[in-house]
């Protein structure tokens, strides 16, 4: 037996709340008694407040999903690059080998692992929505990061990992990596990232369903 997920619980809360609200809306006379007043307070105040917070939380959680990011047409080539059959492609190697959660692949690497990283990621997301619907979205190959990719996002997982520590080169340049003096992805070591320009020539891995 599997427990219902958070989304199911949110749906249930919203439906139950709607049902109780409907009772008060159809028969407001139920509030004539003391018990009815308490019922109305629960149905028209407590449950809606709790439900709206739960639904908002669920919406924010959903924005972390890979399928959410790839629901914008402009992101399609980036999603495709996760299936390139070549371990030199850093995102593909991470995605295909489950080194990152596959359901939150974009978010895992493109959020800042800092105090307000998640908040900044959400604000950038709102800007992307604005550009998508009210602005002029750039071509996929013209999309650039706001700032150079911070090694902190790589080191968040790799620092302290045996495979990372046992590599003599990593250990020799560790201080430069920590200070971003050298970049993991643009200093010539792991520089094949999404590279969507070369996807037309790439072979693709197709996972067995």
């Amino acid at each position: 037996m599997t427990l219902p997920g958070p989304a199911t619980l949110v749906y249930a809360a919203l439906i139950v709340t709607a049902g109780l609200v409907a009772i008060v809306a159809v028969r407001p006379a139920v509030t004539a008694t003391r018990g009815g007043k308490i019922f109305a307070f629960v149905a028209l105040f407590l449950l809606p407040v709790m439900s709206i917070f739960a639904a908002g939380f669920e919406h924010v959680e959903r924005t972390k999903r890979t399928s959410f990011c790839l629901s914008c047409h402009i992101m399609e080539p980036y999603g495709k690059s996760l299936y390139v059959d070549n371990p030199q492609y850093v995102p593909a190697a991470h995605f295909q080998n489950h080194r990152i959660p596959v359901d939150e692949a974009c978010y895992t690497c493109h959020t800042d692992y800092a105090l307000y990283g998640g908040v900044h990621a959400k604000l950038r997301g709102l800007r992307h929505i604005y550009i998508q619907y009210l602005g002029t979205p750039p071509a996929p190959d013209k999309i650039k990061l706001y700032t150079p990719y911070n090694n902190r996002e790589c080191l968040h997982c790799h620092l302290g990992a045996r495979s990372f520590q046992s590599n003599a080169v990593h250990m020799a340049i560790l201080d430069s990596l920590k200070s971003n003096e050298m970049s993991c992805v643009t200093s010539g070591c792991h520089d094949t990232v999404h590279n969507i320009d070369s996807l037309s020539k790439a072979k693709f891995w197709s996972p067995e369903r």
Partner: protein, 66 residues
């Protein structure tokens, strides 16, 4: 001079209807997996629910008139 109070029941109905609209928008947007769904949820569903709660709380402040 005080305003004549609106009877409680229409206010509760109004609060209920606003809340129902907001909850319906919340349910629909949760089934819709697109970036626009969050904007519809927060821009339409949220204000409906907020208005419903405000109408309900306002009705409580006028209870003594009824």
């Amino acid at each position: 001079m005080t305003e004549p109070a609106m009877p409680l029941e229409p206010k509760l109905r109004l609060a209920g209807l606003l809340l129902l609209c907001g909850l319906l928008v919340a349910i629909v947007t949760l089934t819709w997996n697109a970036p626009l769904s969050f904007l519809v949820f927060s821009g339409i569903g949220g204000p409906f629910i907020f208005a419903g709660i405000v109408v309900y709380l306002y009705s409580l402040t006028n209870l003594h008139h009824n």
